[in-house]
Symmetry: C2
Subunit: 153 residues, 2 copies
């Protein structure tokens, strides 16, 4: 993908975060902006441990406590989505201006696949209207056996 568009997104989300922090009266610390930038450059799913190591490799020293704290804020701000897939630890991913998608996880090889579906949005809207429930986020995960693992059986 072009580096250009990636930079643009980072500028936008940085601005969004700044506004969110001001609105909430939180402080604009360098760590918070660094973490946001790194997440949007990384662009993939990650768990806290993996990301912590990733930062360490780039000589960026931020403690795990701060990482957890900041991720909570980014989720609140709607800039990051948190998923709790079956296997132990939470997974995060950037969400701003990125294609909304769902996940399918192979229970054999643990690989995560992504797919999107417009019909899903319709289901969500229907539920919102019928139940007077305001959906802010959702997780749709399919568990099963992928093509490769099916062939190995």
């Amino acid at each position: 993908m072009p580096q250009h568009s990636c930079d643009e997104v980072i500028i936008e989300v940085t601005e969004n975060l700044k506004n969110y922090l001001i609105e909430k009266g939180y402080r604009k610390t360098p760590e918070r902006f660094t973490i946001l930038k790194e997440i949007y450059e990384y662009r993939e799913h990650f768990d806290v441990d993996t990301f912590y190591t990733h930062l360490k490799n780039k000589k960026i020293h931020i403690s795990k406590a701060t990482l957890y704290n900041t991720l909570d804020i980014l989720v609140e701000a709607g800039l990051v989505v948190k998923h709790q897939f079956g296997d132990s630890c939470a997974q995060y991913e950037p969400s701003y201006r990125l294609r909304k998608h769902s996940h399918a996880i192979c229970i054999k090889c643990k690989k995560i696949f992504e797919f999107s579906s417009e019909e899903l949005q319709k289901i969500i809207h229907k539920f919102e209207e019928e139940n007077d429930f305001e959906v802010t986020n959702h997780t749709f995960v399919l568990y099963g056996i992928c093509r490769d693992c099916k062939m190995k059986m």
Copy 2:
């Protein structure tokens, strides 16, 4: 709901479990059948700790280790579904012959709502066919604010 139909379901799932254990060469221990029966009488979502206490109150003594072990088997056997909602601990629920449903969780009051959607099945089938992926289970969770909490704001 009529006690009658509940008993019928318990008889069926007990038979299913027996067959599954034989097929896999696992032992038919009383604990395994007791846990299955209690889950199908309970009929609601539960986490391990809550269920452990529930059993203790009924003077049924089964250790947590056995509970975890047995739940894994029941999930394998397709008699119980495991959900990993955002908040820490895993939730389980009986699945045999019970209406397939999805969940909506209020992020304020943490209440869990259930709803079902036939369209969801279509989406799942479409994904299976397009990707040669065999779906064995799925989780669809909406997070947001329920009617009651909206009114309190």
